[in-house]
Symmetry: C2
Subunit: 258 residues, 2 copies
DNA sequence: GCTTGACCTTGACGTAACGTAAGACCTCAC
DNA sequence: GTGAGGTCTTACGTTACGTCAAGGTCAAGC
């Protein structure tokens, strides 16, 4: 017969708290024998089971599921592990984004006493950027994506300001296109073609003439109706289908005329 | 004046649940105005604040702390960020270990219907191994550590069995040394020197003659008294100071004699 | 036999961030 | 004014225990 222990000894032996053992007992996850007086008596086989519990807990499984896995030895474990691994990988992805966001914020603060509001704004931007990034990746070829990564990595604060300015100019352009539509401006007119040129110029600012990037960008916007709602909301000013239709006509007219 | 919203609209706008907004309200984290009838009325400035809340929540900050940061604009944010980043990095480390453990377990299962108990045992081993690994790293030079990493990566199942066998042989050796001590065997005797040779042979099996690895191993064991308790318990069979003292004498005698 | 101190027992409330009803009230279009 | 749909507060459920609190058990010393 192996040795026996009372709660405290056993808890120290296994590196868990007495309260946890009580808890597991109540959940029928680990029920030791009892003395006549009702004292819990743990054996080495209990230690064995507890070690499994602790290990599965480390993997992030809830106690209920641990009990299920340990009790009914059904062929469920592999499935449980697979789904848990997926969950953990997803968790890690979000953790990485959070860590990156903080690191970036810390860099932008540095020694200067940047106001909190600004720092938090920066955090928000980084989080959104990384999440968008994840999503948009699917539309680009590996090569084009690598190119974009490279540019992001090499981006200076100066360039970042320019990029933000780019957003503003896109909004202005959309505003002007809308005005032209409202004025019933002919898509083939010189005025409309000027809008088309502004459009292409802004696109070129992003693609920098890179073919793969250009293809990816086209795919991104061709699928704009399928974006996650949250993302569509962020890009709301650029989602108006009438504008896209109009600009399509402009390009159609331009390509016909020359 | 900006637009105003009622809870549901606002919740959709911001991508949180109505219940969460209620919750934040009760915590005084985000208190909108009210209509005479008591309906909550959110404004764009509320949206601004909510976005910050969501962002800080994404970083894993508890709501209380978020409130503290947002309300009293004390110079606390950088400190909060630093500590939070550390916490997240630690979390990430443990996540990685868990993921690795599952992946390893999945590999050992593969198609064969390995019993659950065995799989879990394997998970425990991987977790312990990785945690030990983390700890022992400090004792090795970067170069020596890289060498060990390389070996681990190249380790086949066959070699893994051998390594486990190594543990068994160490235990046997310790057992034999203890017996020699009990028999009052002279550390300078041939019998004792034979034990010393077995010792060195087992050491060499691990170091494979690599100087850096050898140095690191020495440091690891020189500090065995400082290991975390849990680790000491695991290595309990190898912690008896008398044996170390005796084997020290054996090597002392050997080096004197030649 | 009695006390004392160390250890054990079972409640039972607290935690974090909401989810989920339940029951009552408000608004507005028809 | 009435029904549908939105909103209010209250309150319990969730997870894995932490933290008392009130009260048994047991071996030792007097």
């Amino acid at each position: 017969m192996g040795a026996t222990y009372r709660v405290q000894q056993f808890s120290e032996l296994a590196g868990v708290t007495v309260r946890a053992l009580h808890h597991y007992d109540r959940l029928a996850l680990l029920k030791p024998r009892r003395t006549d007086a009702g004292y819990r008596v743990y054996s080495t086989s209990d230690l064995d089971r507890l070690e499994r519990i602790v290990a599965l807990k480390f993997l992030g499984l809830p106690l209920k599921q641990i009990k299920a896995v340990l009790d009914r030895d059904t062929r469920t474990l592999p499935a449980v592990l697979r789904s848990q691994r997926r969950a953990l990988e997803e968790k890690r992805r979000r953790l990485d984004i959070a860590i990156q966001a903080i690191r970036d914020a810390e860099r932008t603060v540095q020694a200067s006493g940047t106001p909190d509001a600004f720092v938090i704004r920066r955090i928000i931007e980084v989080i959104e950027m990384q999440e968008n990034t994840e999503y948009f990746k699917q539309f680009y070829s590996d090569e084009a994506w690598a190119e974009l990564e490279k540019r992001r990595a090499e981006m200076t604060p100066e360039m970042r300001r320019l990029a933000e300015d780019g957003t503003r100019r896109w909004m202005e352009l959309f505003h002007d296109v809308q005005a032209a539509m409202a004025a019933n401006e002919n898509p083939a007119s010189e005025k409309a073609r000027e809008l088309g040129r502004r459009w292409q110029s802004l696109v070129h600012e992003f693609t920098q003439g890179h073919q793969g990037v250009s293809d990816g960008l086209r795919k991104v916007w061709a699928n704009k109706e399928q974006w996650p709602t949250q993302m569509q909301k962020q890009a709301a000013p650029f989602m108006d289908p009438q504008i896209w239709e109009y600009i399509g006509k402009v390009f159609g007219a331009s390509s016909q005329k020359g």
